[in-house]
């Protein structure tokens, strides 16, 4: 956020602060060979998937070392080696893609899972419903994870949905659908694991609604006038990071010294990725037209 204010990072940036338990919990339940399709609020998903902080930071700086070589920016992080398929700025646009990835696996008899993250806003788009229908009809190995953070930009769930029980609506397509506390990483992991295993076992798509909240505005341009301060403070009281730390302390798995070290480690990693991004080369303007079509040629 400071880098954005300092004009080091530009464009739309959608912070994930407050929703971390969802990305971490779900990715804990996934395997290396699985695929992840994400949205424009995907920094958390990318990092939890294993994409390096260096590659993410450099991309936000628009550098050649960025995970999308400066073509994507904050909203379009990609990493083929981690099967991380973005990074989609069109709400619900990633859902059909995820169904297709799952279809490819299903047609080849693979047991891989494709996981698609999207928000409550995407639930109002036709593409969610087209995908849910297709995935259930064809029993695709797809894990649909709806991050319900209660707001589609500035529009609250109740103002955009005639029926706000999302899991019930997903279940109407004939797929198992569960709701989980998206502020509790252990609960998310347990639910995601159960869902992913069932998907892997060939039981078709599963839907998981994680009830969560973003502590920051929709994007860096959002004045956030549509939410009561008290509501934000109330949710901050359920901070997933603090919640996990408290639980671990109470069970004797964490103390002040370890916590301090962890904080230091995280800050050092961020600091290092910022420094590396600052020093990284720019993608040359002479390469502007690269990657519009493949460079391997059209030979079979």
């Amino acid at each position: 956020m400071e880098l954005y204010s300092g004009a080091k990072i530009r464009g739309f940036v959608h912070l994930y602060i407050g929703e971390e338990a969802v990305a971490v919990g779900v990715n804990q339940a996934l395997r290396e060979e699985d695929a992840v399709v994400s949205t424009y609020r995907e920094h958390g998903h990318a990092l939890a998937r294993g994409v390096s902080a260096d590659a993410v930071m450099a991309e936000m700086y628009g550098r050649a070392t960025g995970c999308s070589r400066g073509r994507g920016g904050s909203m379009h992080l990609f990493d083929a080696t981690h099967r991380f398929y973005g990074g989609n700025a069109i709400v619900a646009g990633g859902l059909p893609l995820a169904a297709g990835l799952a279809l490819a696996d299903r047609m080849r008899g693979s047991t891989r899972v494709t996981c698609c993250f999207f928000g409550d806003g995407a639930f109002a788009e036709g593409e969610f419903h087209e995908t849910a229908n297709l995935a259930a009809l064809w029993r695709l190995p797809l894990l649909l994870v709806c991050e319900n953070n209660l707001y589609a930009m500035g529009t609250s769930l109740a103002r955009e949905h005639a029926q706000t029980n999302l899991a019930m609506r997903a279940a109407s397509y004939g797929m198992p659908a569960w709701t989980v506390d998206g502020m509790d990483v252990l609960a998310v992991e347990a639910a995601a694991l159960r869902a992913a295993e069932s998907v892997r076992a060939g039981n078709g798509p599963h839907f998981l609604e994680a009830q969560t909240y973003r502590f920051r505005a929709h994007s860096m341009y959002d004045p956030d006038r549509y939410r009561a301060k008290s509501e934000i403070e109330e949710w901050k009281g359920r901070d997933p990071l603090k919640g996990l730390a408290e639980l671990m302390r109470s069970e004797g798995q964490l103390d002040d010294r370890v916590m301090e070290e962890l904080d230091k480690e995280v800050l050092a990693e961020i600091d290092q990725s910022v420094q590396r991004a600052e020093k990284a080369p720019l993608e040359p303007v002479s390469d502007l037209l690269r990657f519009v079509t493949s460079e391997t040629g059209g030979a079979a």
Binding site: R71, H76, D105
Partner: protein
């Protein structure tokens, strides 16, 4: 990409529809990653009969009927391509493809660039285009020029049985998304399929009829009309060269400019609306690249600026016809 073999005279009559089906069948036989999906492609046999019989031969896994959800199944085709398959997606008509425009433009055409070269999308999307069958505005438009506007995709318009037979294989060999526009009025058209041709080159336009007085530049469903016009003009002593673009993106400027360099006059026939059309683009390129070769202003024959009407006489009047092409050529050579 393989080159065209010299014809040896072995040829057989085939319809455009059958040629497309042969191309599909060959692709399905040759590569297990290839599958066809779309509305009514299976049990129904394709709404234009292109995939008739393929379900029986290849089964429902590879000849896959989809719900009426263009965005969903076109997006799934793109995802399956990302996942290593070689999907051929059929959309009934170009008008319906607008429901999938988000997936085609924002994903298929864009993912390779946005991902810095990591994710190529080898999907082929087939659809019908064009008017002439009294189907009314929502089944009759020619919007391939809109798609030709988009970087990152290849746009094909087979006009002959040879192209209908072989373009699919070339499209599937392309690592990037390819859109194939089949003109609805061509499905029943019979042609002589050259048995010695086993591949087509997607990078070059074809001179279908050599001439010396004027270049008639066209593609797809307008090609037979341009050929008929050229025949009429030959009777009047005007020698028209007919250029079939075949690939609408990327355009083969070299063939077009070479033709204009020979004839010094150009008439562009494009069934889309004139404003902001592919015809406008080609005219502009001729002005940019071959202005001093021109002996007359470039002429354009396009559809009337009206949603294509149902009534036969209105529809006919809205579309380019051999007679209107003849008139435009006369204006160019006068």
């Amino acid at each position: 990409m393989s080159t065209r073999k010299a014809p040896t005279g072995t040829s057989r009559p085939t319809t455009y529809r059958e040629a497309l089906r042969e191309g599909l069948r060959e692709a399905l036989l040759q590569d297990e990653r290839v599958f066809l999906m779309g509305e009514d492609v299976g049990r129904y046999g394709g709404c234009f009969g292109v995939s008739l019989g393929l379900l029986e031969e290849f089964g429902p896994d590879r000849i896959r009927d989809t719900p009426l959800s263009e965005s969903g199944f076109v997006g799934a085709g793109i995802g399956a391509a990302l996942g290593g398959m070689r999907p051929v997606v059929e959309i009934m008509t170009v008008n319906f493809s607008l429901l999938a425009l988000d997936q085609i433009l924002n994903n298929a055409a864009t993912l390779l660039h946005m991902s810095g070269g990591q994710l190529s999308v080898p999907v082929v999307i087939r659809m019908t285009t064009g008017a002439g069958r009294q189907l009314g505005a929502q089944h009759s438009h020619s919007l391939e020029g809109w798609y030709a506007h988009i970087p990152g995709i290849r746009v094909l318009a087979p006009a002959t049985v040879d192209d209908a037979r072989h373009m699919l294989a070339a499209a599937l060999a392309d690592p990037d998304p390819v859109l194939l526009f089949e003109h609805g009025s061509l499905y029943n058209a019979e042609g002589s399929l050259d048995a010695t041709v086993d591949a087509v080159d997607l990078d070059t336009a074809a001179v279908r009829r050599p001439g010396t007085d004027v270049s008639v530049i066209t593609y797809g469903g307008s090609l037979p009309k341009a050929m008929a016009a050229a025949e009429t003009l030959a009777g009047e002593g005007i020698s028209a060269e007919v250029v079939d673009l075949r690939t609408l993106r990327p355009l083969d400027d070299a063939t077009v400019m070479a033709s204009v360099g020979r004839t010094h006059r150009a008439v562009i026939v494009d069934e889309a609306w004139r404003s902001g059309s592919l015809a406008a683009e080609i005219s502009s390129r001729i002005t940019e690249q071959a202005f001093y070769e021109l002996d007359a202003p470039v002429q354009r024959v396009c559809s009337a600026e009206v949603p294509i009407p149902y009534a036969r006489q209105l529809e006919e009047a809205a579309l380019p016809q051999p007679a209107t092409i003849v008139d435009a050529v006369r204006r160019a050579v006068s």
